[in-house]
């Protein structure tokens, strides 16, 4: 491509945004010793997962920062392209490992969209219930770690205790606490065990108490507010331009929630509110997440009231695995099962992008199929990629001690960031 062929337009014509990008101060003069460079991470207790922030300091004030990521890169996409479609589901558990159900659901929904099928209603409600439980565990983990890093250790222990209540619920359905591998294409791997929904209600009540306690302990605590308020502020327009989604964008005052904006599953039948912040600082992010957990509890309770009886796996041939009773009881079932296991799924050729509201923001799956049974492309759009990119902008002008308050509140998850 030579320069004359290109239809490039000049920078002024493009109306560029103000672009801080990676803010690297000019190399200081030999005599200038006022700028100091320190490396925070990769192995630092306040870095969730492994990420390195090369920070430039003037005194104790941050004048520049360059985040470096990729320490946890495991080649998710390469592995997926060399697997069968169904074999990718366990990999998705390892993306955002504090809300694995949502990753499972997102990927399965993308493949179902590729097939163009709807799953049974009971399976949809089950996904909502499990997904919201997972969202609560995500927020509990984030808030607990965030409060611990600014000194609230009791809060951390209480919230991790509440998270444990919910992990045990996930364990009852899927057999695993974190790496659960629960959904399948066309439905869910298992239905709820007997008495599960009652158990959910009991445990949610306990979790609600813990959240209430934590709320009283921390939300109006002077020390906590001093550490969080007006720290890491980002304006609305910039947050949108940076591709912020989820609780971070809502903290900036934009009521954008994919559960409402691109309704999936049965969220349009359930009643919930979208909390938004005012300033877009760390404290607003904390409050938004606190309120979202309460909304999630209410969503689960409504879903429990409305969940119908029925199958949890579609009857579509060559999409859902046949029931075990059929496999062992009839020759057709056995043949279907054999063909599914040996040949895998064959989604029709095409490409889809399926976004869902992950624990942390918009979790998108972009899949390309050529109809042969092997994925051509299996791309994850991780929400926290954008957040870490914006770290220099969030931290600029603050002090070193504020880095943990900002970094805790953006909830970076290494597995999802580096894939």
């Amino acid at each position: 491509m030579s320069a004359s062929e290109l239809t490039t337009i000049s920078a002024e014509e493009l109306k560029p945004i103000h672009l801080p990008g990676a803010i690297i101060p000019a190399p200081p003069e030999e005599s200038d010793t006022s700028i100091m460079r320190i490396e925070i991470g990769p192995a630092h207790p306040a870095m969730h997962g492994i990420v390195r922030l090369t920070t430039y300091l003037d005194g104790e004030q941050i004048v520049g920062m360059v985040p470096e990521i990729g320490y946890l890169h495991r080649g998710f996409e390469k592995e997926s392209e060399n697997s069968k479609w169904i074999q990718v589901i366990p990999y998705t558990d390892r993306l955002n490992y504090v809300s694995p159900v949502l990753n499972n659901i997102g990927y399965s929904m993308a493949v179902e969209k590729l097939f163009g099928v709807e799953i049974p209603r009971r399976a949809q409600f089950a996904r909502v219930i499990m997904g919201e439980i997972s969202r609560i565990t995500d927020h509990l983990t984030c808030l607990a770690a965030c409060a611990m890093e600014v000194g609230g250790f009791t809060f951390f222990l209480w919230f991790i205790k509440a998270r444990e209540y919910l992990y045990e619920l996930l364990e009852q359905v899927t057999g695993g606490r974190v790496t659960i591998n629960w959904t399948r294409f066309g439905g869910n791997g298992t239905d709820f065990p007997d008495g599960f929904l009652k158990e959910v209600e009991v445990r949610l009540e306990k979790v609600r108490e813990v959240i209430e306690e934590g709320d009283q302990l921390v939300t109006r605590n002077k020390i906590f507010i001093d550490r969080m308020k007006n720290i890491g502020v980002l304006s609305k327009d910039k947050a949108i331009s940076y591709g912020f989604t989820g609780p971070l964008l809502r903290a900036c005052g934009v009521p954008y929630d994919i559960r409402r904006a691109d309704p999936h599953l049965v969220y349009d039948e359930l009643d919930f509110e979208i909390p938004i912040g005012e300033v877009g600082d760390s404290y607003d992010r904390f409050l938004v997440r606190m309120e979202e957990m309460k909304q999630s509890i209410s969503i689960i309770e409504q879903a429990i009231d409305k969940i119908p009886y029925g199958p949890v796996m579609t009857r579509e041939r060559y999409l859902g695995y046949p029931d075990k009773k059929e496999v062992y009881g009839s020759i057709e079932g056995l043949i279907d099962h054999f063909k599914m296991v040996m040949e895998g799924h064959h989604p029709p050729a095409g490409e889809v992008y399926q976004p869902i509201e992950g624990g942390n923001g918009e979790l998108g799956f972009y899949l390309v199929s050529d109809g042969s049974g092997d994925p051509v492309k299996c791309r994850v759009r991780p929400p926290c990629f954008n957040y870490v990119q914006a770290m220099p902008e969030l931290a600029l002008g603050h002090y070193v001690a504020d880095i943990v308050a900002i970094f805790g509140s953006i909830n970076m998850i290494g597995g999802e960031l580096d894939r």
Partner: protein, 194 residues
């Protein structure tokens, strides 16, 4: 099974009736030479563009009052080497952009074919903040050069990594040479500048 398999190779064009949306009509009016094709599959709207026009079209989509795609969602590429399909791609690579409008509440996908022997495309990092790292990632994984990018370095892989891992001709089990420790120490000197 024969019925299912014949169904599964239906082409994208026939899978859903094509109804062109306002956004696609607008782009067709403004830049008629830029569009290679459009399609709508599973309610995802797609515009296939000539790569030369990516900057003006993205500007149009961001700023025009009927479009207002103020959020840049995703950027990636697809390598179609060895893929035999009716997806009707013309070149080896395709750079894929996803945009979202909050005020108008719609999404769009842009695709630009990029040939293997001339692996570059104009950068659009001046339009959205989020683009910068996504273009770096795409360069890292596929070796596609984004012309005009201010800092086109590897992001997930390390600097000395050889090759681009998501290309289809990069073997799964390829091993990389060990790094010399000296290089690392020289690069990262800690503490106060002297």
């Amino acid at each position: 099974m024969s019925e299912e398999s014949s169904e599964s190779v239906e082409s994208i064009e026939t899978s859903e009736p094509s109804e062109t949306s306002a956004v696609i009509n607008l782009v067709q009016q403004e830049h008629p030479a830029a569009i290679l094709s459009t399609h709508r599959h599973r309610s995802d709207e797609t515009l296939v563009l000539k790569r030369e026009f990516i900057q003006p079209i993205c500007r149009l989509l961001r700023d025009h009052p009927d479009c207002q795609f103020e959020m840049f969602v995703d950027l990636t590429a697809v390598d179609y080497l060895l893929v035999e399909t009716n997806l009707q791609q013309t070149e080896r690579f395709e750079v894929v952009y996803h945009l979202r409008s909050l005020s108008k509440d719609h999404r769009i996908r842009l695709k630009c074919p990029v040939p293997e022997n001339d692996c570059q495309i104009p950068s659009i990092h001046l339009l959205w903040h989020a683009v910068n790292w996504y273009e770096r990632e795409c360069y890292d994984m596929y070796g596609i050069h984004f012309e005009g990018h201010p800092n086109l370095n590897r992001i997930l892989m390390y600097e000395q990594f050889q090759g681009h891992p998501l290309r289809k001709d990069y073997p799964m089990d390829k091993q990389q040479p060990l790094l010399e420790l000296n290089d690392v120490e020289e690069r990262y000197h800690y503490g106060r500048f002297e």
